[in-house]
Symmetry: C2
Amino acid sequence: MAVDAHSRPAGETEELLYDPDVPTPTHGERARTLVDALATGTLCTIAKDPAGFPYGSFVTFAMDGPSPIFFISSLAEHTKNLRLDGRASLLVAEGGDADPLANGRVTLLGPCHELEPGEAREAAKEAYLAAHPNASYYIDYADFGFWKLDVEAVRYIGGYGRMSWVGLEDWRESSPDPVAGFARGVIDHMNEDHADALALYCRVFSRATDTKAATMTGVDRYGFEMSAETARGPRPIRLAFPSPIASSEEARRAMVELLQRARAAGEGA
Amino acid sequence: MAVDAHSRPAGETEELLYDPDVPTPTHGERARTLVDALATGTLCTIAKDPAGFPYGSFVTFAMDGPSPIFFISSLAEHTKNLRLDGRASLLVAEGGDADPLANGRVTLLGPCHELEPGEAREAAKEAYLAAHPNASYYIDYADFGFWKLDVEAVRYIGGYGRMSWVGLEDWRESSPDPVAGFARGVIDHMNEDHADALALYCRVFSRATDTKAATMTGVDRYGFEMSAETARGPRPIRLAFPSPIASSEEARRAMVELLQRARAAGEGA
């Protein structure tokens, strides 16, 4: 989890107001979650012409476990390139933030090869059609084939200052965050209906003991992040759930348990 | 403007109901328009590690005439790659359509080099800051530099069946479509307030003489496209403006002139 340091003017470093060892998703988990949520990206191949240039093309993809699957036509430039040189990468980038460089992105690098008829091809086809049901219209075109990228290196950039080359074991053994699909709902619900609880969590479980109000900004299987309004301005706070969660019902129970603990331990006692 | 033909079952070919020689943007003009409207893409470089693999990374860019400009940190992987091997490409892809493969995209390939202090660097900086005003916060970081990609090959894909390698002269001498910025407004206005005129254009100026209704689907400097409801179903119609337009006022005048001609020539006479 190396953080690159830009050559910027020296300034004060903000003191962290929460436990730096709070359980946090690994970069492998973050990367798997990001890639799993998306279905289009840029395939990079080595061009046949102009020879040797890296060639970026828009592709749809699906994940078969840790490996991206492409369903591409032999008439397309990227397929012609791959037939001559299988070296490839796939860039998958989040959209959404007004500042594009604050969004997350992942580059998966490795050799890409066409799948021959057989079990692996059937698994790839199933994964691809689950992600792209419209492809059933041309799934039997003779010029189309399934290709798989065997990931050998993973670059993760989570936004400013959060980036690393992800360990291959971390990539292969991580699973996408089960919370990703309903995180937005949890965040909205907590901010709309339980803002008092969020501020109490900050006062009791972090060193932002003067928090007047707090807004939830993120949630994952291991915990959640808030922006706490303190006397010295807004400060980030991350807290862990009592144990990892996998459903919105588990999220609700974890929040209630934290509230009971906060009341028992802190101001409410 | 070669059209690749997929190996699909033979079917009927629809007869074109409008003049096939109607003035239409070149692929160079379409590509320049697409790239000009966007500010982020994928930079493809040759990786230092794993050596020789094509590496895709998310970048912001600006156009300095026909050349993309990047403002990138020497700490970033793509910059390290470019210092060892300047061969690069930039993929720029439209979003928006529900079917991602129906969207347009452009790949610009060529050598990429860092701009030394001087006139070219000042022009690049000005173009970049105009497109990315927030970059002014880190414009003076010592590790950042301006890089320019000298375009030597251009691949354009406008969606299904509309693709080509664009001639370099077409790329360099084309200008972005001046209509792109207000096309949406023209389309909405015509469909909401002048649907009768659209249907009349189709009946008088095309061979869709039984058009009951028509919807405008696109507009550019040279003309506009409609979907005509005919007895045999919806059919595409493209018509030219009397002369190329560059403003919404010119669009309005061209539509009025066409209406007068249609009334004089056709049913309204």
